[in-house]
Symmetry: C2
Subunit: 790 residues, 2 copies
Amino acid sequence: MISHPAYRVEPWSLPENGLNLDLLAQSESVFALSNGHVGWRGNLDEGEPHGLPGSYLNGVHELHPLPYAEAGYGYPASGQSTIDITNGKVIRLLVDDEPFDLRYGRLGQHERVLDFKTGLLHRSVEWTSPAGRTVRIRCTRLVSFVQRSVAAISYTVEPLGSPVRVVLQSELVANEQLPETDGDPRSAAALESPLVAEESFARAGRLRLIHRTARSGLRIAAAADHVVRGPAHTVLSSESSDDLSRLTVSARLEPGQQLHVEKFVAHGWSGVRSLPALKDQADAALAAATSTTWDGLCGEQAEYLARFWAGADVEVDGDPEIQQAVRFALFHVLQAGARAEERAIPAKGLTGPGYDGHCFWDTETFVLSVLTYTAPQAVAQALRWRYATLPAARDRAKQLGLAGAAFPWRTINGAECSSYWPAGTAAFHINADIADAVVRYTAATDDGAFDRDVGLPLLVETARLWRTLGHHDADGAFHIDGVTGPDEYSALSSDNTYTNLMAQRNLEAAADAVTRHPPQADLLDVNDEECAAWRRAAQRMTVSHSRELAMPEQSAHSTRRQRWDFTATGPEQYPLMLHFPYFDLYRKQVLKQADLVLALHLRGDAFSHGDKARAFAYYEALTVRDSSLSACTQAVLAAETCHLALAYDYLGESAMMDLSDLEHNTRDGLHIAALAGTWTALVAGFGGMRDHDGVFSFAPRLPEALSRLAFTVRIRDRSLRVEITGETVVYALTSGAPLEIQHYGLPLEVSLTSPRSEAVPPAPPGLPEPDQPPGRRPARRSRDAASAPS
Amino acid sequence: MISHPAYRVEPWSLPENGLNLDLLAQSESVFALSNGHVGWRGNLDEGEPHGLPGSYLNGVHELHPLPYAEAGYGYPASGQSTIDITNGKVIRLLVDDEPFDLRYGRLGQHERVLDFKTGLLHRSVEWTSPAGRTVRIRCTRLVSFVQRSVAAISYTVEPLGSPVRVVLQSELVANEQLPETDGDPRSAAALESPLVAEESFARAGRLRLIHRTARSGLRIAAAADHVVRGPAHTVLSSESSDDLSRLTVSARLEPGQQLHVEKFVAHGWSGVRSLPALKDQADAALAAATSTTWDGLCGEQAEYLARFWAGADVEVDGDPEIQQAVRFALFHVLQAGARAEERAIPAKGLTGPGYDGHCFWDTETFVLSVLTYTAPQAVAQALRWRYATLPAARDRAKQLGLAGAAFPWRTINGAECSSYWPAGTAAFHINADIADAVVRYTAATDDGAFDRDVGLPLLVETARLWRTLGHHDADGAFHIDGVTGPDEYSALSSDNTYTNLMAQRNLEAAADAVTRHPPQADLLDVNDEECAAWRRAAQRMTVSHSRELAMPEQSAHSTRRQRWDFTATGPEQYPLMLHFPYFDLYRKQVLKQADLVLALHLRGDAFSHGDKARAFAYYEALTVRDSSLSACTQAVLAAETCHLALAYDYLGESAMMDLSDLEHNTRDGLHIAALAGTWTALVAGFGGMRDHDGVFSFAPRLPEALSRLAFTVRIRDRSLRVEITGETVVYALTSGAPLEIQHYGLPLEVSLTSPRSEAVPPAPPGLPEPDQPPGRRPARRSRDAASAPS
């Protein structure tokens, strides 16, 4: 079992065991609060010590030149990086004449608890100053799901033992000094003190700072207001300068007396609105929050989450750690997307600066596939953001000599800022991933307006891309040459099976959508010839196949390449990309992450069971999982091919990615896609849920360790609850009209009044468990595993 | 016919027609003087106007960081750039009170003539100042082949019409301001004023400047001395500061009187020697030059060139322009390599700053293949430089996870500084190209000491590389996957035929060399198993073949890729790399330059005549010649496959590359490899010379336009003269012991006393001339061509 002593196992919360300053940066990511618009890392209230201070507004970024020693046509010139916005979290404390700082004095008690039901982060501390004064602090923080610009803190300090004089400084701080990074010096230069002061204000408990970014020209505002309760003679004062606006509260507290502060913070930004307009926007949001009151905000938050959990919860019996982890995962996935509203969902959500705050394909493929069935409105919003960036994607396609739209590999504002084209521009599958998210969302929601206004143009423009990216050979077969699939240890291959099959779905879906919406298709200049060409390309799409191995292969001729010499590769040489050149990784058989196996999942309708079993086993032996985007997919295919213990191990790896910091970079932010993968490993893996062609099918089967798995998914305005025990599965509709589903291929109608109980067929006789590369087997989670941990 | 009105056609010189300031930068390259150690661009003596001031010392470079927006393992961190050394060319002139500047006043006459026999650059000018004073200037410049540190100028000014007061300023100038470039701003920053002054000196006619580079830590010295002859009352004074050392000569000249200055300049540099040592070195070189006298230097120069031409001249009857161009080419190829002496021969020689002064594979493949038969001592020196860089190449191989040595794609000091790995690191063929140059030189010279001390280690270490870079498949076939061949519009392909066949020769040659030198091989730890493995890899080397097309193909499966849409590509979209992304070029069938066709030439022993004819025709239709390294190879194969008119057109393109500035970048320096290709097109093309396995064979055949072609090649200390007329070829030895050669496959012994006259067999019935991509046919040179120019 993987252990994570930093946190205690609870079903509905994540309590921290004490405070380990060495893990501070990691815990700041784990305890980050966000609603997809505003993000606050879990920094200590007093500001320091910190790992990485972090406050973010989705979409706020600065530009910087992308350097090339040897430039090339079509290389993006400008990079984008997320930047720290004004920090509204800071409440500093002076105890008598000593600053409250956990690096000094004596820490009697420290606990933080993230509550998945209430959406609140609680903290309680007992601390004795070097001079021997003891205080207790209780503090709760939220970032509101309901009021998207608003975050708030409730802060209470009281003396234990002897009276103390306390001074609280509640601040808005801009241009905080960040720890040094090892990145490109020019990027760093551009991002140091990125904010230019425009206005600062402080009067009584009201604070405000307005800044502007130098190059991207975005204006950001932060405003705060306070409710203060303390003994008589509690004194308030406030002041402001360019990068600091501060309320100071001073009181003398006798034992039994408390100083209590409620801090309401509103954040806002705009690329177009004037300073007065943005100031008003922040003040208005603040007024709404203060009038709601602290208790009101907490109530809204709990209600919002109750609705979410009612349609999204996953119950796991037999593994309390997984139970906790999947709720932690769903909570953070919701936080990343809930209120992003026509902005990207970055790879790290708003939990840290990793990957420069960029959004990649994993949003559509790993995150939206979960939100589609748990918080579908967030999916519509995320895809509306893609739709809003269509002009940039069309320009990019044109620049590349292609028709339609070429969406960026990594971006904040919609323009490509990937500087390494073999794993950027060439990874065209992102376009099919977006199309797939459209298809999935549309099938799961019947959202006709979205289908017509957003889905159709996205499908049409991506289909146009594929038509010009690929070509029919002399025999009529359609090929897509020289592109990069999901696996980042392979590149520039021909007929990448994942890419081709996802493009196939994209092409067909576009033609179907045109049929559904002829007038809107006309506006996009789609004609019959074009639709026919899409269908022909889809029908004649090449699927790479190895005759020798009698199975599909990752790309044309790829199984003939030299295999990576795993026996000569030491454990310290992982991740391979930090120890071997790309040229060597690319030309040999070694996978960073699931590639064909992802096709076996998402396009499972294109393969026989035998193909899946053979190909899964083959690629298991080549996949090193240097990417966090792999374990969940391997879990799904391991489950489908009846390697249930192995699937359970992969579930564990995906679930513990951040809680156990398996990749040693949780400090930079959570792996939102891997977190989402926890749900996928359970629901698509052990639940066997698939959604090909608008058919929702299940083929559940539990590993021995789990006695029960129950999950609820939202499908077409219904809530379907699936509860699996050893030999039985019960499908029950908890809301909405009757729904047709499939159970192991058999059609089944479920309605509010008639839950269906079905037998789980016995597992077929077990094939031998596939091997992984030496030393790369996932940690053994299953108690009943055949072999011991390696 | 291509016309180049800038120059008049003469057999042994290049006279310029007047002065066109718009072509100034180009003419500076064309009139550059060099001996391979010191290089002076053909800048006007008075310094300005200039296109690019340029004075170079082979090996002198500055370092600068190579920027990467997304870094990767094994990416070189440091770049190298050639820098301008102290300019010793400048002699400014004041006529009465007006500076002599061709942009003002009236130019009566201006002629520059580069003389290939004497190695002198002559200039004569008649100029009338804005105030109406007319002067005549006669000036001659040389960079000595015999005294490698030395350059010299003879400068004479006289009044025409009325008396004038003239002031001459003869200077050494460091850190000259360069025209702005569009490169990376950091590179530019590093290279602006790269020299740090260490010493300056001026006394009477003696001048000296010593500087040091800031990062590479190289010390450079320039010293000058003067002989002045003028009327009575000619006054001399001199002065110096950090970056300027200057002699001023002032005189009043009556009509018929002259002021004459001889300026001797010595350049030196060292990465290890102290300031006093380097100062002494420059002073000593200067003392030798002044004691030789101007006339003595000119005499030495002419003698050196007479010896060169005796063993290297090419005579062409029927095309005076080609006659001039091939001597121009040989002169510059000699200038690039003559005295490089354990330094690289850069792609531009020492004629300009293009490609940052880097050396690439074209040195071994295109330049050394000419020098081997015309100035073999230069080849030994160039390969000794590669040998001296073996430690860096071994380190690079180790970093890349390979055995042996991995030579850099581009470098000055031996360390890789290519920042774009798909067309840098992955182009491993450079290692086989170096090995091929070793094999060719050894076979052509019987230089046993070189073979043992330099050739053996180079062959062994490159063979070791290939063994680890490739692999045997299950059937035993040896494959080299994921590398880049010569064509820069293809990349990362498997079993690139050129690479594989050159590696095959490399592996065999290494095993052979070990057999010749067992004790030295022992010192390199070569054992029998290793040799056997090399031979097995060579024997089982894969040669990619298209069954459908019944011919060899560029790399595995490459002929199945989509063909570039040439009809949709406008003339303004060439070169393609400036208008299309690499991803699109790489995945389609389109060639920047000969790739398989180069294999058909250099490894012609591996192909049947039918293979050659089919493959040449196939790749003609795909090759756009956006590289200057292509036309000469296409000429050779066109000749071999009896497309003689086409071969003649390609000869014309290679020959006129710089004289007609076909690629519009002659300003940055000459295309030394394309110049060398002029010789190759004539000797290997129409002469049909090949040198496989130490057999020197000829298969001559002339295009209709040429009535006679005669060339002399040096082979094993002999000079072999080959004279081809329409139906006859005469092989005559002009020095040395009898030599076995082949004429159309038949062995033939030639000796001093018995020249052999052989018949040229009639050309077989002509195949149809192959097509080139639309608009990319070479300019029609042949008067008898079937079709008119396109």
